[in-house]
Amino acid sequence: MKIKIRTFGSVAEILGTELDAEAIDTDSLIASLYKSYRMLEGRKLLIAVNNTVIQQNTALQENDVVAIMPPYSGG
């Protein structure tokens, strides 16, 4: 499936704010990102598919938008 990734905060510094990717589900997408971008490894990240937060592996459809967001600590 061709999908779009949107990133936020410090994750955007690693991946860029938007990128295209291909994956069948969120687990395989994240695994391939960890592999290509070592700086992501071990990060606590929030994943959302089409603007809904997910925790379990989620199947992806063509043109889905996956948001990857780190926690922010500043105040």
Partner: protein
Amino acid sequence: MTEIERYSRHYQLAGFGKQAQEQLAKSSVLVIGAGGLGCPVLQYLVAAGIGKIGIVDHDTIELNNLQRQVLYNTNEVGLPKAKVAAEKLRLLNPEIHISEYITYLSTENAVGLIEGYDVVVDCTDNFATRYLLGDACMLLDKPLVFGAIYQYEGQVAVFNVAGDNGVKTTYRHLFPVPPSQLDAPDCNTAGVLGVLPGTIGTLQATETIKILTGIGKPLCNRLMTINLLDYTSLILDIPENLSACPDRIPKSLQELEKTDYERVCGAESLLDIQTIDASQFVKMADDRDVLIVDVRELDENPRLTFPHVPIPLSALERNLWIIDRKKVVVVCQSGKRSQTAAGFIREKLGETYQISHLEGGVMGLENA
């Protein structure tokens, strides 16, 4: 009469009026943190006429705060934020009650402080306090207006308030496990655009007023993010079926009191870090299998006189590839940054690496 004059623009406002204004006067709000987010939150809530406001902050005003913490003046550097804020806010609106608490939010005082207020606003600047506050509000079923910032971007959400479907969510639904502080650098290390906390804090004050008066649609079970550079904004739904990682959340107030949040937040990876003293360090410095990493900034003195690699903490993440040996000793000036950096290296590179850090830092080495 002055009250009518003061709030006349609220009275005139369609959909708000006398009823909503009276609701605010009957309400109480506790603001945790009187920094970048806390300043606008406090100013707008005090101006709006919330009946009772509490301010919790242990910090004193620093010169580098003034670029964004607009409640403070240059001649107040060194004074406690909670005290200065309370004094100024009383001048802004003498008709409401303001209490200042010059203290850290801790597992000992959290419940006592939170219980006395209707709504809590999270204006903290570190994960340990955020998780403590989030867990305490969840256990007390207290509405929590969350805000957090990073450089040019901010997050806002309303926790522990039921959405249309009756479900309540918390910060743990977004990030069940606390990250380490290095995973999400704070304003001190990453910098922040001065107006960002103004924007996000104003949104937090807005959400607080919406919850208290029942107007509009607050961000219950939703997380809003905004980027000031291009105004891209996104609202994520937090579905009810998510687990908030229940095994990690204290299940009672008694358990909360026993939780060490400083340790839970980021210190997890420190468990496997060895601490070495100056004499052990001198021995290890001769070992060719050991890589010594100096995480001080490049202009800090004295420089080390034996073989080592300098990787400033601020550039550690992108330079981890330099670490080419399995035994690593991390050093800094006092032993504080080296501990953080050692935990980070351990977490990123994994268990096959043996990581230690020099207690007391280079300063301790000098004296030994």
